[in-house]
Amino acid sequence: MNGEFGPLDAGGKVPAWQQTRVSAFLMSAHGAWMRQLATTLLMPVQDAWQVEMHAQYCREAETVSLLARATSWVFDPSLLTLAWTWETAWMPQTGTGPGIGPGSHPGADHAQAMKIDLAAFGLALHAAIRPAALLPAAANPLDPFVLALRRIEFESGRLMQAQLRFLKDPALSAGRAVVEPAVERRHAQIKALWEQLVAGLQQKPASAWGSFGQGPFGLGAFDLLRTMGLPFPPSRPPA
């Protein structure tokens, strides 16, 4: 991964507009994964894999909640279009190839293709995105956003194990020739979106302005109202 966040402010914090972009992306991706996990929890827990899925669901909820609270948010209208792109990308995709899809083995194979894609998405989310690796060495180690990114990256290494075990399982009837391309496709897609986002962090967009402060509904929300022309002190200097 090339490049780093920054330049940092005097307190060693990542600029708020960069925090906003990064957290919006991560919350979108982890939120989508959390929703997909949730669909597997509708059934009674009877198998070992459901226990693992439940653990992952709870961990993803923590990730989304932590980012919402540890990020210094600013108002960035371009997120509306970006979020649309991201949310579309996270949607389940059915793999294609020999042994997969309605063309060869209707029914059961299609279901397996869905499982493979879900696992590939979870794996790519935790393997291809390394937000902490983009923190400059001088980043304040006690800053909540910095701590959050490090925690997410650290947990990702563990969370991907369930997907790795499933996708590497020689008993998976689709076979390596089918699984590998499906995983590579998801990995390339998510990596490309992440790198696109990181490339966009080189220059502050004119559309990002104001500050919500830390947390989704923190005191800084008054800033948004103030920038809309409403006299709501106190104000926070935009990062």
Binding site: M1, L123, A124, A127, R130, A133, A137, E153, F154, S156, G157, R158, M160, Q161, L164, L167, K168, R176, V179, E180, V183, E184, H187
Partner: protein, 342 residues
């Protein structure tokens, strides 16, 4: 970015030095990346060699397969890289994980090489190494790349190297932490899950081979290198004083000098080989000493080679047969002391 393509994968490499003449290809260890060979590039190019360094699949700037990395794919990419070097003499050196790949390459494509240098490596998994590898993999899974680095660092280098860096270990680890992805390292480590011992194939390596082992390497200790010395016919085992597993990082000047001297010996036809055992000098340019005759080079203590007492029946029937260890000791005692080169 210079790259070669192997199948659908792109492999990052660097090639420096003259367009003709002998070349060295250097193969990374598990968590290494090509930039760590820069001191070797500079020293070997100055000595007239071309130097090729690269990132293995799953490392640094090369492609990182998401699920599986076969060691045969690493051998294939190495072959593609050697092909780009043309017909000149090629010397292949690899450390640790890279040493395993180098050994595999020499077994399968030895005719394309002029010399081989396995460093801190192994041809088979001893129970200790197997358990250590499993523990390191578990460490990576539970604690990610940073924890794996924490485990490896004290095994790899000496306290003397670490002492002045203790307050800046984050800076030491940061480049490797940033460039290595946990899933890719895990895939590299799991390429050993179906590892087949190479020992029975080592005798097919007819190349001049210099086996390098750090005196204090407890990750891949002397016995693992002895397998190579004992089975590769034209090999010598060279012990690096006061060195640990990653002596290529800690002692680049000495190691680059040893690589240079090995290649020059081979090209001049003066490589001793023959299973001899040597002690490297403390610094580049020093004298290489043969391991003292009569002592067991597999021991840490200066233990004399045990000669089993002949049984009474053997004494009556025929003279006791010389054990293999005694034969090696005799070979060592015949090896002449080597003078330093200018």
């Amino acid at each position: 970015m210079p790259s070669i393509e192997v199948g659908t994968r792109k492999v990052y490499y660097e090639l420096h030095g003259p367009d003709d003449g002998p070349a060295y290809v250097l193969v990374n260890g598990l968590t290494q990346y090509s930039a760590l060979w820069h001191p070797y590039r500079d020293a070997l190019v100055t000595a007239g060699f071309a130097v090729a360094t690269f990132d293995l699949l799953g490392q640094g700037q090369s492609d990182k397969p998401e699920l599986f990395i076969d060691q045969s794919d690493q051998v294939a990419l190495l072959d593609a890289l050697v092909t780009t070097l043309g017909t000149r003499p090629v010397f292949l050196a690899g450390i640790s994980f890279g040493g395993v790949i180098a050994l595999r390459y020499a077994i399968e494509h030895g005719h394309r090489l002029a010399g081989l240098v396995p460093m801190s490596t192994f041809a088979e998994l001893s129970p200790q190494l197997m358990l250590l590898g499993a523990a390191l993999r578990e460490g990576l899974i539970r604690g990610c790349v940073g924890f794996l680095q924490d485990l490896l660092l004290p095994m790899n280098v000496s306290s003397e190297w670490l002492a002045p860096r203790l307050n800046a270990l984050d800076a030491v680890k940061r480049p490797g932490w940033r460039i290595n992805d946990a899933y890719a390292l895990q895939n590299l480590m799991e390429s050993f899950l179906d590892f087949q011992p190479m020992t029975q194939h080592l005798s097919s390596i007819r190349l001049p081979t210099m086996v390098l082992n750090g005196e204090f390497d407890f990750l891949t200790p002397r016995g693992l290198h002895e397998t190579m010395r004992a089975n590769i016919p034209n090999s010598s085992l060279l012990l690096i004083p006061r060195a640990y597993h990653a002596f290529t990082l800690e002692k680049p000047a000495l190691t680059a000098w040893l690589l240079t001297r090995f290649a020059q010996d081979v090209l001049a036809g003066t490589w001793p080989g023959g299973g001899s055992v040597w002690i490297a000098p403390e610094a580049a340019g020093g004298v290489m000493e043969p391991f003292p005759p009569g002592y067991d080079h597999l021991r840490s203590l200066p233990a004399r080679i045990a000669t089993p007492a002949p049984t009474p029946s053997a004494v009556k029937k025929s003279p006791a047969k010389k054990p293999p260890a005694a034969k090696h000791a005799a070979a060592r005692s015949r090896a002449p002391a080597r003078k330093p080169r200018a």
